[in-house]
Symmetry: C2
Subunit: 145 residues, 2 copies
């Protein structure tokens, strides 16, 4: 059993409203099997991160109610939070006009989506130089051991 599967088993099942058999068919062909997925904070609407899903990650997300991505750097399925425990509970899913991009509205466990410890991966604003405007929630050295 993979680490992702072990973590999923430890989590409380979600009352998950997304029935797989009624799903829309997403277009994974434009990007060699991947689609971009935007994760937004369910309550504030803040964009937390952008990641990619393949068909398997999409299926896992629908089955479990937790955001599951495909890691391009590690070339494998990536249950968000599998190392840190900071999983994303999916509250709503939105599909774009071309059916090749998603928005997940999520509850971010632990409060931070970025591996740097910031709430959002987009914690820097460009104004000539990059200026940190985001909120740091955790110390990555303590979370990723």
């Amino acid at each position: 059993m993979s680490v992702s599967e072990q973590i999923l088993l430890q989590l409380t099942p979600l009352p998950f409203p997304f029935r797989k058999e009624l799903m829309v068919k997403l277009n994974f062909e434009k990007m060699n099997g991947l689609i971009p997925v935007i994760a937004q904070d369910f309550e504030s609407g803040e964009v937390l991160m952008l990641a990619f899903m393949n068909q398997e990650a999409w299926d896992k997300t629908l089955e479990t109610g937790r955001a599951c991505y495909y890691s391009r750097s590690r070339n494998k399925l990536w249950l968000k939070g599998e190392q840190s425990g900071h999983v994303q509970n999916v509250k709503e899913i939105y599909v774009d006009c071309d059916e090749d991009t998603l928005i997940l509205k999520v509850e971010q466990v632990g409060g931070a989506a970025c591996h740097t410890g910031y709430k959002s991966c987009f914690y820097r604003k460009l104004n000539g130089e990059l200026k940190i405007i985001g909120e740091k929630i955790f110390d990555p050295e303590k979370v990723y051991k």
Copy 2:
């Protein structure tokens, strides 16, 4: 002169705060020269669309203050709004932790970002089936002639 350039010339110049010489170096290598870009409504924070930029589109965006993307289907530079006139005035730019994804906070001229006439491309919510929840702003048959 291209259609995009003609349109840009007709627009009032923006007081644009992004000085190119101080820019961060974005990583275009992960996706064959492209990066994903999220456009968010400047005022409401609603995610309007996701598109891609290559280096040239990024440079044009910084120079002009209008969102310029790279169209994967047409394989060319795409000034958003070049057909409809519904350009995006860039108000703020955010860079992610890996420097391979952007958020543009924009003022969407015409009120709708999607070619279908909806305010956002993400006008459908998934709940078993796809349900339209977005607001239709224009009739695409009247805008794209």
